[in-house]
């Protein structure tokens, strides 16, 4: 019998939602477990760190990595798995674009520390203690990892072969990606293993979208009783559909909440933010430039919508990973 392909599934700076999505393959997960040799998946299997280190370069057929890169532990593990793997799949919004935790790039490390350990109303800290990389307790040394100042996407740290976005990706696309990548008939390197259309193209509300949108003002989701069948944008509710890649199954839209962009930008676009803004500008019923500005300014917290899942991969958030990590 031919040896089964070896597969690793590993979370870096992740919430484990992507792992849960893999378990959401349900019965099919047992077939996957039969067809491949899972050499690393801390969620379900005993982890053998030494076993990975002892492997030959390229011995793992496929490593599925989730999560962003925030500290040296993440970086080391990503580099190790890259070395041992033929293929690396960046899975989920965090690995692909930085994800929601990437919003932390708008805040400094000190700002976070000061709140959490000093200013939060529940803190009791008469000694003014802050967690330290190294603590000496009567000669006993306790250490903690230090963090990078910045949140990175996976491909800012290692070479990535394929991408599967989503927060998390739906199980169908996960199953498809595993099949495609193990079958050997590989798509071009760098491919995103999801449809190439925008959410709007597959949205169940598309048919009721007016031919010409005439947005006059913006409303927030809690302020309205959204029509369960009508286009959100047409009603002036921010929906990232036009700038976001589809493939999610429109699960949010189907429960009557608008898209927030977890599948990242449509193909050919670097960031969904600028793409969305330019789309939005064309949908406004305003004449002059200053009116456009006024309308856009009326959106509360544009940054939080435009960069909800992709600050670190955006032009705004990109950094030279090597240089930043050394700082």
């Amino acid at each position: 019998m031919a040896e089964k392909p070896k597969v690793a599934i590993y979370g870096l700076g992740a919430c484990a939602g992507c792992d849960e999505a893999v378990i959401d393959l349900n019965e099919a997960i047992l077939q996957v477990a039969d067809a491949v040799d899972i050499v690393l998946w801390p969620l379900a299997m005993d982890f053998k760190y030494s076993r990975i280190q002892a492997m030959q370069e390229g011995e793992i057929t496929l490593s599925i990595l989730t999560g962003s890169v925030r500290n040296s532990d993440h970086q080391e593990m990503a580099e190790l798995l890259r070395k041992k793997s033929q293929l690396v799949l960046a899975m989920g919004a965090c690995a692909c674009f930085g994800g929601t935790p990437g919003l932390a790039n708008f805040r400094g490390r000190d700002d976070i520390f000061n709140w959490v350990y000093r200013d939060a109303p529940t803190v009791v800290n008469p000694n003014g203690s802050f967690p330290q990389p190294e603590t000496d307790l009567n000669g006993r040394k306790l250490t903690l990892p230090s963090f990078f100042e910045h949140v990175f996407t996976l491909d800012q740290v290692i070479d990535v072969d394929y991408y599967l976005p989503g927060c998390p990706p739906p199980p169908e696309l996960i199953g498809n990606a595993i099949n495609v990548l193990l079958a050997g008939d590989l798509p071009p390197k760098g491919s995103t293993l999801a449809p190439r259309k925008a959410i709007c193209d597959t949205c169940p509300r598309n048919q009721r979208k007016p031919n010409r949108m005439e947005i006059k003002s913006f409303r927030r989701i809690h302020e309205v009783e959204a029509d369960p069948d009508a286009c959100f944008l047409a009603a002036g509710i921010i929906c990232m559909g036009p700038a976001t890649r589809t493939g999610c199954g429109e699960t949010c839209i189907r429960i009557n909440v608008p898209c927030r962009g977890c599948f990242g930008p449509v193909p050919g676009v670097v960031g969904s933010g600028p793409k969305f803004l330019s789309t939005l500008a064309s949908l406004l019923v305003v004449e002059r430039d200053d009116e456009i500005k006024e309308a856009i300014d009326s959106i509360d917290d544009p940054v939080g919508y435009l960069y909800r899942f992709a600050q670190p991969s955006s032009i705004l958030g990109r950094r030279n990973a090597k240089k930043s990590m050394e700082e």
Partner: protein
């Protein structure tokens, strides 16, 4: 013999977020042990400036294992922030989803994480000590049922709140989507299936743990007992409540210390900062921080399944109540301080969640179209509190007059348990590691002490239900590694 340090690092290498340091004295006995959490993500800060109603869509990213808990705490904080009562139907739909989440979450913990230690055994080959080993022992049919109960309950989550690993749809005063009559039939089927499964799981637990002397001895042993205060939400009848209620706290003797409205949490909960860990140590502020000590007078409290049963007057549903009585009979009364009994209590909570969903599925109001109360009045401060599977969870938001966040404070379930987990680990280490004898199975027993809490370090930061990897370095006083033990 020189003094040594044992480093269990990482307890969950998958994220490198936690480790255990054990210090041995000259005799090779445990002098001290520390459970360290090594991650911090700063949600409380990067949410500032965001519209408050977006929190229901941001906070599920804190943790993909218990996203529904954060989603629901955020939703309830929004109710308070906008001073609005959800409609009865919205409340039913929220509870339906929350119960479904409880069911799938508690079972994934029990079968994937806890069961290997009891079913395959604490000293078994680590390669076998996982869910597949469990299935080999109890049969494929059982494995299929575990997958099925999880799948069905996640179907409910998907139906009302989109993606189970990232739920959406909670709004101040309501929910985004109602339930149809067809969907009600399906929900009823799933609830019935879940109650049946819950009883089956309870039976399995009794066969495998209670009727197995070795396992029962472990549950009852001193090494796994810790005398702390307990905290949980209770309903108006003093019963275990997941979705809402009053916070009740008892002392180690079982006496009620306080009962408070979650909005007053700042008065009662303090977070102590230690330089050697990123997690803060929650304690009862009025008693004051007294360090990592248990017993009478301690300010440390525990949350999660056993705490719920210790604190409440009883379970809110009949089958769960019967099981609860049996548990306390076996453990010798209330409160029970047996850390490993958390697994038992967890199964009883899952049973209550399933029974409650049976009732909700038959409630005529479930399919009403009245899912939003639009009578919103921004108060600029809101606190949401739910009893998450891993314990009491607080979300506290403050906003400007546009409802944009200016302050966010979160007290997450695992953080409440941080100090007790450290103590439990220390106690188990002292009990099992003696004379420098460090066998893999003994280290696993140390891990069982924190595993019982089902700690979620992704919330507090992260530890996944899963096989905990283990590298133990034994160092001499100069820090040189003189022996390395690996579990594999």
């Amino acid at each position: 013999m020189t003094a040594k340090t044992l480093t269990i690092d990482p307890i969950t290498r998958l994220e490198g977020h936690g480790k255990i340091e054990i210090f041995l004295n000259d005799q090779g006995d445990v002098e001290d042990a520390f459970w360290q959490v090594s991650e911090l993500r700063g949600f409380e800060r990067f949410c500032l400036g965001r519209p408050a109603e977006e929190m229901t869509r941001i906070v599920p990213n804190i943790c993909g294992v218990c996203p529904s808990a954060h989603h629901m705490a955020a939703t309830r904080a929004l109710d308070d922030l906008y001073d609005v009562e959800p409609t009865p139907t919205a409340k039913l739909i929220r509870q339906l989803e929350f119960n479904a989440f409880y069911i799938e979450d508690h079972y994934i913990h029990f079968f994937f994480l806890a069961a290997p230690d009891f079913v395959v055994g604490p000293d078994a080959d680590p390669a076998e000590r996982n869910i597949l080993g469990v299935i080999r022992k109890v049969g494929k049919e059982v494995g299929a049922r575990v997958i099925e109960v999880r799948k069905k309950n996640r179907e409910i989550i998907r139906l009302v709140f989109s993606k189970p690993p990232h739920p959406e749809g909670g709004l101040p005063g309501g929910v985004s989507r109602g339930i149809t009559s067809d969907e009600r039939r399906r929900i009823k089927e799933i609830a019935d299936y879940s109650v049946e499964f819950a009883q089956f799981a309870m039976g399995l637990f009794k066969d495998l743990v209670l009727r197995n002397k070795k396992n029962l001895d472990l549950v009852l042993s001193d090494a796994y007992q810790l005398k702390t205060c307990y905290m949980s939400l209770v309903d108006e009848n003093d019963k275990v409540s997941f979705y809402d209620g009053t916070v009740k706290v008892i002392d180690p003797g079982g006496k009620e210390i306080v009962r408070f409205d979650p909005r007053d949490y700042v008065e009662h909960i303090g977070e102590w900062v230690e330089p050697w860990t990123y997690i803060k140590m929650s304690h009862l502020k009025k008693i004051g921080w007294k360090g990592l000590v248990e017993g009478e007078g301690t300010s440390l409290y525990r949350v999660a399944p056993l705490a719920r049963l210790n604190v409440a007057g009883g379970m809110a549903t009949p089958l769960a109540q019967k099981e609860c009585e049996q548990m306390f009979d076996t453990l010798g009364g209330k409160p029970a301080h047996h850390t490993l009994a958390m697994h038992w209590a967890r199964l009883i909570c899952a049973l209550q969640a399933a029974e409650h969903n049976q009732m909700i599925a038959s409630d005529p109001l479930l399919t009403s179209k009245d899912i939003r109360n639009m009578n919103l009045r921004l108060k600029r401060v809101g606190v949401g509190c739910v009893e998450a599977p891993r314990g009491t969870l607080f979300h506290h938001y403050e906003t400007d007059d546009r409802g944009l966040l200016t302050r966010v404070n979160l007290i997450v379930a695992t953080q409440n348990n941080a100090a007790p987990i450290s103590l439990s680990v220390k106690k188990a280490a002292r009990e099992f590691i003696r004379g420098g004898n460090v066998k893999e199975g003994l280290l696993n027993r140390v891990e069982m002490a924190f595993r019982a809490y089902d700690p979620c370090l992704s919330c507090a930061t992260h530890a996944l239900p899963g096989r905990i990897p283990l590298v133990v370095n034994i160092r001499d006083q100069e820090g040189r590694v003189i022996r390395t033990l690996r579990r594999s």
